[in-house]
């Protein structure tokens, strides 16, 4: 769907991660499905590397 057409239709939003973005939309009565997500291991590169190697 071209971008302009998308914005003219009813917007359906799924927000992943920071709830701030979802809040900005819900405050304007736009329904948002909020998916709670954080980077693995809080973004710690050393732990992410370990997790990757442990899943190999």
């Amino acid at each position: 769907m071209p971008g302009k057409e998308l914005l003219r239709s009813k917007v359906k939003v799924v927000n992943i991660g920071l709830p701030l973005f979802a809040g900005a939309l819900t405050s304007r009565d736009i329904p948002v499905v909020q998916v709670e997500w954080t980077p693995p291991a809080g973004g710690d590169e050393r732990l992410i590397e370990l997790l990757d190697r442990l899943s190999e």
Binding site: P39, A41, G42, L51, L54
Partner: protein, 416 residues
Amino acid sequence: MEIIDRANEITVGRILDAEPVLVDVKPAGVVIEGLGDGMILHAGPPIGWDRMCGPMRGAIGGAIVLEGWAEDLTAAEKLAGSGDITFQPNHHYDAVGPMTGLITPSMPVMVVENRNFGNLAFCTLNEGLGKVMRFGGNDEEVLNRLRWLASDLAPAMSRALADREGLPLKAIVARGLSMGDEMHQRNVACTGLVLRELAPSLARTSDNPDDLAELLKFIAGNDQFFLNIAMVMGKAIMDPARGIDGSSVVTAMSRNGADFGIRVSSTGDQWFTAPVEMPDGLYFPGFSVQDANPDMGDSTIVETMGLGGFAMAAAPAVAGFVGAGSANDALNHTRSMMEITVGRNPEWTIPALDFAGVATGIDIRKVLETGLAPVINTGIAHREPGVGQVGAGIVRAPMACFEQALEAFAASVGVS
């Protein structure tokens, strides 16, 4: 890694294959090997007197007076700090205890035998709510109740359990889940079910109707009586899951009021600790968060086996009691715990989730991958010694425990 997945399957298999049976109630000094005079077992990972919180110190003072090692609480506190008392974690002695979790030689402990693996586990009897030793209470009322538990209730339960050759526990938990219990902050149904099971044998083995009436009234009047049974059952279930090479499953979570500790199967009995967090909860009238002590107790063994906060969906009433929000929030808590576990328990199911089995086998890798820390329903003690319980709430296991555990676990499977 396939080796980890296989090891975790074995670990969860052991958890599911457990057959915990409450077999006896005996003085701790008689049944816990190595527990002698001058020794106190406590909740959580190891801790010395100098770092213990107020309620832990208060309970220890009371326990020392109870044992007759000091005349009064002042002398008891002096003795506790003198170095002449040995403090050891319950978990190092096959035992668990709620909140302060103290076990001293004269205190009666329930004995649960895991009949499929042959191991025993121990836990004290639940004293009731409010001003009790597990929440730091230590006055004469508290000590007299403990003396009555030892002189009356414990021998009566021992006789009753012998009369009926033990009390199998898994079926009671299964029914309790369908009756609105999660076995940490709500034990109304399971307490009633246990009383129903034990009452005929208690009556048959009693020679004094007044004494019988008193102990039946005590159990019936204490909605949390089953909590300690759930805990000792949990310890008996989880201990055979320890020490499995390559397994990233958590075998114990526990708090001493200062540190939160976890153990992981493949790294054996090593503790991974981090500062405890403050529960987010509701307070009894007259108390507030300013009065609250940080997180404490071995009762997180309940969550470790998949109940308590993990099974909150079974107990919508508890969501209100601990300030967790709506019944829908309770469902979400349980669903989220399914993301950090290896499997489900088909024998313990939750009606509100289309009879899905409770989440079983916390995998430290999944905790870190998802950022979802185990959720725990807990009581809240007053921060000062001698006061008791002031509320109940929800708390999370600190992520730092899992971060340390992952490093050690990776090394144990040759990954660095």
